[in-house]
């Protein structure tokens, strides 16, 4: 019983308790990475990420783009011969990296998700989990499509020219969230 948790333990704790087998049961067979549709774009394949976690190589893991590239298609999870919930692992890593605010430079994912969640926390509804198409039908398409990333920045600056829908009992809703995370936490 050591009082300082290993990286592996830290991540395992972030994994939802009911989710599959612990990481150290990984047999490094590569099914996940062979399956993953995004693997070719990742710095490390999912299998390598698990290896790095088990090896305690925190820096390499947090600096990688792997988990930000996870499309959460769950294909690895259903195929894993050790029944490790790899997708949940990727979520856990995202949370960890946001929590420690440590991630690869120039990744859109982290900033985007924070902004996204803030928005919903404010409005109760998103105007679109995928940004672009929301105003496709009302705005010049070409311009938008060439500037999807630009659009993101717009959002981040909060200058997007459409209003997100809001729920009626917004005040309750906010207090409800307040019971989970102090509003300051994300504002």
């Amino acid at each position: 019983m050591t009082d300082t948790l290993s990286f592996n333990q830290e991540i395992s704790n972030l994994l939802y308790a009911a989710e599959g087998e612990p990481l150290q049961t990984c047999i490094q067979c590569g099914t996940c990475s062979g399956t993953c549709p995004v693997a070719p774009f990742m710095d490390y394949s999912p299998r390598q990420i698990i290896a790095l976690i088990n090896a305690g190589n925190k820096e390499a893991v947090l600096e990688s783009n792997t988990f930000w590239y996870c499309a959460s298609c769950y294909h690895c999870t259903v195929r894993c011969p050790q029944e490790i919930n790899i997708t949940e692992l990727m979520y856990a890593l995202k949370r960890y990296s946001i929590w420690k605010s440590q991630h690869q430079e120039g990744l859109i994912g982290p900033t985007f998700s924070e902004a996204f969640v803030k928005m919903i926390v404010r409005g109760g509804r998103s105007f679109e989990p995928i940004l672009a198409p929301s105003y496709i039908f009302s705005f010049n398409l070409r311009e938008l499509l060439t500037e999807v990333t630009g659009a993101t920045e717009l959002l981040l600056k909060g200058r997007l020219p459409i209003l997100p829908a809001r729920i009626k009992r917004l005040e309750n809703f906010k207090r409800m969230i307040g019971r989970i995370i102090p509003m300051g936490g994300l504002e």
Binding site: A17, A18, P37, V38, F41, N65, Y69, A71, S72, C73, Y74, H75, T77, V78, N85, T87, Y91, K94, R95, I98, L107, I108, G109, P110, F112, S113, E114, F116, V117, I120, G124, R125, S126, F127, E128, P129, I130, A132, P133, S134, I136, F137, L145, V148, T149, T152, A165, I167, K168, R169, N172, F173, R175, M176, I177, G178, R179, I180, I181, L186
Partner: protein, 291 residues
């Protein structure tokens, strides 16, 4: 008469309003009542889970709690919403501790969730709760000879195991056959479209879209049928992007399965929200070869 609580989800409010319309039209024809949840909130898509797991569960739980009051199974047309609600419900059933936290938060909205809700994806209603006969009985304009590529995407069957064959399910095909269409078997029907990556990892997402479209085209499909707003938008709206990126020339129609069913039921296209697409769909809906 079948009745369900209905959780449209954010996308169906605007972006995928045609999915919303066609859903209401077709279910009406089939004598299914959909009761929209009062004052529902966003399910959180995938992004919540990036930030705070408990928060994510709480948001879904709020909708579940609202649904529980109706005493009905809740139906979600969006795969992401469905997956989030399905697993939130599952975890809340088994994990008393989580349930306690969540209900503590729900108190603020005078709600409480007791784990009594059954979560279904819209397509499950058509595939499982209805028999093919029931669907057939309403078909007036069978889509004879139309080759449709059923696109399952990810979260309808994954990550649940045991419920369906997660690698080669057939229920979507079943629905298409019921409306007279010819489902084509193409290898990527279970593959991810990259929807959630389109902002954060554009190239990856576009590649995935490209592969999917190619696979559908190779299988001589005339149209892709989806059961998820993310997938629809991703596969359709980004075709131009794909073409720019890879020098391809895709111009391939992507429809909601409810729209196809609606057409087979003889519901006027307008009522099904047809016409808002980037790639006109109607021209492609003539029997293969007769083009």
């Amino acid at each position: 008469m079948k009745e369900y609580a209905y959780f449209p989800g954010c996308s169906l409010e605007k972006m995928a309003v045609s999915y919303h319309q066609s859903t209401l039209e077709t279910t009406k024809k089939l004598g299914i009542k959909l009761k929209e949840l009062e004052d529902w909130n966003c399910c959180g898509a995938t992004t919540y889970f990036y930030i705070d797991e408990l928060l994510a569960y709480t948001l879904c739980a709020r909708n579940l709690a609202i649904a529980e009051k109706t005493g009905l199974d809740v139906v979600a047309p969006c795969s992401a919403c469905y997956k989030n609600m399905f697993f939130t419900a599952a975890h809340l059933k088994t994990d008393a501790d989580l349930a306690e936290h969540v209900n503590f938060a729900l108190e603020e909205d005078n709600l409480q969730y007791n784990g009594g809700v059954n979560v279904k994806h819209l397509i499950e209603v058509f595939a499982h709760d209805l028999t093919p006969e029931e669907i057939k009985s309403k078909v007036t304009h069978p889509l004879e000879g139309v080759r449709v590529a059923p696109y399952y995407g990810c979260q309808i069957v994954r990550p649940q195991k045991g419920k369906e064959d997660v690698e080669q399910p057939q229920f979507f095909e079943g629905i298409l056959e019921a409306i007279g269409a010819t489902p084509v078997n193409y290898p990527l029907k279970m593959r991810c479209c990259g929807g959630s990556l389109i902002i954060s990892s554009r190239t990856a997402a576009l590649t995935m879209v490209r592969n999917l479209l190619k696979s559908a085209v190779d299988s001589q499909a005339q149209v892709i049928a989806t059961a998820c707003p993310m997938c629809q938008v991703n596969l359709e709206v980004y075709q131009q992007q794909v073409n720019l990126e890879f020098g391809t020339d895709f111009n391939f129609p992507v429809m909601y399965f409810t729209q196809l069913i609606g057409l087979a039921f003889g519901i006027p296209p307008k009522k099904l929200g047809i016409g808002k697409e980037f790639v006109a769909v109607l021209p492609s809906l003539v029997p293969a070869g007769k083009k």
